[in-house]
């Protein structure tokens, strides 16, 4: 079902001589999903499976950060597509086992080549036009992919903004982020932020190490390592097996956990792994529940309801 908020834009597009269309697009397609291996430096050699200790309380409030986007093809001007999106990001903080919304931002964007955007005229308040570069090839797919990448960036911008606003009010809470910490130097240096990466398109090892990494038993973490591509914003990471993979894909239940490379990061790795392991329950109502923590899922659902 298409978003009714885009209906006015489609009318404008039609009045401007464009061709309105209605198609929900795959938000993830624009991401770099190319599988690759980038060998990481093991910080706790040798690479091995380490059993998580019994979980202990976090000792401070825990908050979850995530963002969502809903992208639609608005139509086309000539042969050039226009893409619109509703994006949102938010933080929910947990107190006495209950989650409450702490910060959120919602934004609407429309993305396209400048001349295509001109057809829409002046946008209503709350809408933001994102022009693509002039030198983009005029292939509709190229424009569409570039638009999606721009929307991704816009969403990331919202996530950074809500994280900053949350940190302005609460410096003590643990902030668990859906995705990598390397998106921002602020995140990558925040000792109380934890990145939870579900995607494994980039793997950190090869050969026997890779097998050890991908066959971590449930309740175990890997030795901590430092991904090589993070020279600008270095982080420490380890793999954590939340759910058994027997009979399934090797990646089932495997989460990459990222933390700022502080002095205590390696010391606290066991503790963090144990705390995250305890977050397996309750199970999220989502196909990605093997890697998606309930708190992150709750933020997604919340944003979906309010955005």
């Amino acid at each position: 079902m298409t978003d009714v908020a885009f209906a006015a834009l489609r009318r404008r597009l039609q009045l401007g001589g464009g061709r309105p269309a209605q198609q929900v697009t795959d938000a993830a397609r624009a991401r770099d999903d190319t599988p690759r291996i980038r060998v990481a430096e093991v910080m706790e050699p040798p690479l091995r499976a380490i059993r998580c200790p019994a979980p202990t309380p976090w000792g401070a409030p825990v908050a979850f950060l995530d963002g969502i986007q809903r992208t639609e093809l608005l139509g086309s001007v000539g042969t050039e597509p226009l893409v619109a999106a509703r994006i949102a990001a938010g933080v929910r903080c947990r107190t006495d086992r209950l989650l409450e919304g702490a910060v959120h931002r919602v934004s609407h964007v429309v993305v396209g080549r400048p001349e295509a955007l001109d057809v829409l005229g002046t946008l209503s308040p709350g809408w933001q036009a994102i022009p693509l570069t002039e030198d983009l090839e005029p292939h509709p797919y190229a424009i569409r992919d570039a638009a999606r990448a721009a929307i991704d960036r816009a969403r990331m911008g919202l996530e950074l903004e809500v994280a900053r606003r949350f940190r302005e009010t609460d410096r003590e809470a643990w902030l668990l982020v859906d995705g990598t910490l390397t998106s921002s130097p602020d995140w990558a240096t925040d000792p109380r932020m934890i990145g939870l990466v579900k995607s494994h398109t980039t793997l950190p090892f090869t050969g026997d190490d890779l097998e050890r990494y991908l066959t971590l038993p449930v309740g175990h973490r890997s030795s901590a390592y430092m991904p090589p591509t993070r020279s600008v914003t270095p982080i420490h990471a380890f793999g954590l097996r939340l759910w058994p993979f027997a009979g399934r894909d090797l990646l089932h239940g495997l989460l990459r956990v990222e933390r700022a490379p502080t002095a205590s990061a390696l010391v606290e790795a066991d503790l963090i792994a144990a705390r995250l392991f305890a977050e397996r329950a309750p199970l999220a109502n989502d196909p990605r529940a093997d890697r998606l923590l309930y708190g992150i899922h709750a933020v997604e659902r919340w944003l979906g309801a309010i955005a």
Binding site: R94, R97, A278, P282, L283, D286, A289, A298
Partner: protein, 647 residues
């Protein structure tokens, strides 16, 4: 005072709002529950609704996910660091919309619990509880929202003329049917406006001591007293109370569990004679019996014979004076003797066939036998105070211990007489509430068509025009004639049986309301009243009078007295100075029937000189005079020569 917002109306494609129902969600500690009255204010409209259904669910996708998430250990579910999001969704039936027109779906808006004023508006009580024509009768407190708001019934819809009758359903022992009715009667007597006329109650006690102690105060707890005061009522038992009970088969001890000597002053005998029975012969004769022929004979007896001098020279020279069953039987015997002597036409007497006469004699004889104690053969009648009913008086007719046939007779005659007097407006009061328990027995859907059933139907369908109002109770509403319960303007449910609730007759009640009814605590009722768009739950206080069980514990029934003692007691009710010895001397050696007849005469005439009158009513005893043995007759002269002489 504005109440805090507890929820928000929601409307989706699958759960849309309509003019008669809406949905809202709340947090977990909202204070709402089944039966709670809520208020929605939005779009310049106010909507009142009563919660009829409740749902809760979490974001758990599959039950198996809960097992997996807890590693198969239910106890560890509480260890999860985050609680699942949980939904509380409520369905409410619209009680009222303001303004009433145009009728529109309930808008999206905030939901609050109803205040006292909201409850009054939601149940349309402002139309009959305020102003010069205030006529609200408290039925209990609306307690589901924590406010304890009084809920009142409209007297015009309880006693007529708009609607009338009250019916309560519930399982035995837990539904507090009797308590609810006695509370409502107390409430009615205290709050029924004098401008609406006078009112009295006639209650049939059909089991045990249920209604025998309605004048005896019972101690109430603080909670009950608080309820009474919140309702604006005084917790006092009935002050004008009389219990009428027939005698036992001995004709001298009353057939009631209220026989304690301390309570004898409010107990009156209920005794009827042949005249009273013959008017209701239909009751005691089943349909097969009362064919046209038997009916004709009964009419003949009623019009020409009973209570008159009946001249029948073919039977005997002097006229018959039939006042009692014994007199009637003498007439029948004379008829049979007469017919037996006839050579031709020996099967018919005055157009009545001998078989018909024998059948009527047999059935009427059965009445006297089976209803012994209620039916007297001595002509003395003890009856309800026809024409002398007092305002706010309670008259209990105790038929718990009598034969079912006699019970039918009592019901039929009392209700008929009430109707007759109300039609003539000479009963003494303008309205009479008749309370009948156990409608499953007296107005069952199955079973034979009885006179009592017809009476109850007539009462429920036409009684309100006369001011004759039926308060009734039963365990299974589904097994009572629909026209009887359906005519009740106010219907109340106590704790209900689950099987009963599963029947189609309760299809209009939402499942959650049924579930609550099946587990309703004592003292709570679901009330349906013409002004209420949907039934509401109320709590009523314990009545301030002894229950039957408490009554018999505090005032144990007196043991049956020997005949002579009972006679003394009966006479002392008229003259406490009468000595036992004098009475015993008067009745010594006399047949009991004769003594009973004399006591009946005393009760009827209420003479100044009780003992003298009593003695005068007994047959005169002629002292025996000794006579000398016959002297004999001298034999005739003996003739010794005569061999054939007897001597």
């Amino acid at each position: 005072m504005s109440m805090p917002i507890i929820g928000q109306v929601l409307a989706t494609e699958l759960r849309p709002s309509t003019p008669h129902a809406f949905h809202f969600w709340t947090g977990r500690e909202a204070g709402a529950g089944i039966g709670t009255i809520v208020r929605v204010e939005a779009e310049a409209r106010v909507i009142f609704g009563v919660v009829t259904e409740a749902f809760a669910w979490s974001d758990l996708a599959r039950p198996l996910d809960a097992v997996i998430g807890a590693d198969g250990d239910p106890a560890s579910t509480g260890d999860a660091p985050t609680e699942r999001v949980e939904m509380r969704l409520w369905t409410a039936a619209v009680l009222r919309q303001l303004p009433e027109q145009p009728v529109q779906p309930v808008p999206l808006g905030p939901v609050t619990l109803a205040t006292d004023a909201d409850v009054r508006l939601a149940l349309r009580m402002e139309s009959y509880t305020e102003g010069d024509d205030a006529r609200g009768i408290p039925i209990g407190l609306y307690a589901a929202g924590g406010t304890g708001s009084p809920v009142l019934l409209d007297a015009d819809f309880l006693l007529g003329p708009e609607a009338a009758h009250f019916n309560i359903t519930g399982v035995s022992g837990l539904a507090t049917k009797t308590s609810a009715v006695t509370f409502l009667l107390s409430s009615l007597f205290q709050r029924f406006p004098a401008s609406k006329g006078t009112v009295a109650a006639v209650c049939f006690n059909v089991k045990g001591p249920d209604l025998c102690f309605l004048d005896q105060p019972a101690p109430l707890g603080e909670a009950d007293l608080a309820l009474w005061h919140r309702l604006g009522l005084s917790p006092t038992p009935f002050t004008d109370f009389t219990l009428h009970a027939p005698y036992k088969a001995d004709g001298i001890n009353l057939n009631t569990l209220r026989s304690h000597p301390d309570l004898a002053a409010q107990v009156e005998p209920l005794v009827w004679g042949l005249r009273e029975i013959l008017d209701f012969a239909e009751v005691v004769l089943n349909r097969d019996d009362v064919d046209a022929k038997a009916g004709a004979l009964l009419d003949f007896l009623a019009e020409r014979v009973v209570g008159k001098e009946f001249v029948a020279p073919e039977l005997r020279d002097r006229p018959f004076v039939v006042e009692s069953f014994a007199d009637l039987d003498a007439l029948f015997r004379a008829i049979f003797d007469f017919l037996e002597t006839q050579s031709r036409g020996g099967e018919v007497w005055r157009t009545h066939h001998v078989a018909t006469i024998r059948k009527v004699r047999n059935r009427l004889g059965n009445v006297a036998t089976r209803s012994k104690g209620l039916v007297t053969d001595d002509g003395a009648v003890g009856d309800l105070p026809w024409g002398r009913f007092r305002d706010r008086s309670v008259t209990v007719v105790d038929v718990a211990g009598v034969d079912p046939l006699a019970q039918d007779l009592v019901f039929a005659r009392v209700i008929s007489r009430l109707r007759e007097h109300l039609e003539r407006r000479d009963l003494g009061v303008d309205h009479v509430v008749v309370f009948v328990d156990e409608l499953n027995k007296y107005a069952a859907t199955d079973g034979a068509e009885t006179y009592v059933k017809r009476m109850l139907l007539d009462l429920s369908e036409r009684g309100r025009y006369l001011g004759l109002v039926l308060f009734s109770a039963q365990q299974f509403r589904s097994q009572v004639l629909r026209r009887v319960v359906g005519n009740a303007g106010t219907t109340v449910y106590g704790r209900m049986d689950s099987d009963e609730l599963a029947l189609p007759g309760y299809a209009t009640l939402p499942p959650a309301v049924k579930a609550r009814l099946a587990a309703l605590p004592k003292g709570e009722l679901l009330v349906r009243h013409p002004h209420f768009t949907h039934p509401v739950f109320v709590r009523f206080p314990r009545p301030p009078m002894l229950s039957g069980r408490e009554g018999v514990e505090r005032f144990p029934a007196a043991a049956d007295l020997p005949f002579a003692e009972a006679v003394v007691l009966r006479l002392r009710r008229h003259d406490p100075t009468i000595s036992r010895e004098a009475v015993q001397a008067a009745i010594s050696g006399r047949p009991e029937d004769e003594v009973r007849r004399a006591i009946g005469a005393v009760a009827r005439e209420r003479p100044g000189e009780v003992l003298e009158f009593f003695r005068a009513c007994l047959r005169r005893v002629i002292p025996a005079e000794p006579t000398a043995p016959p002297a004999g007759i001298r034999p005739l002269a003996h003739d010794g020569d005569d061999p054939f002489a007897p001597y």
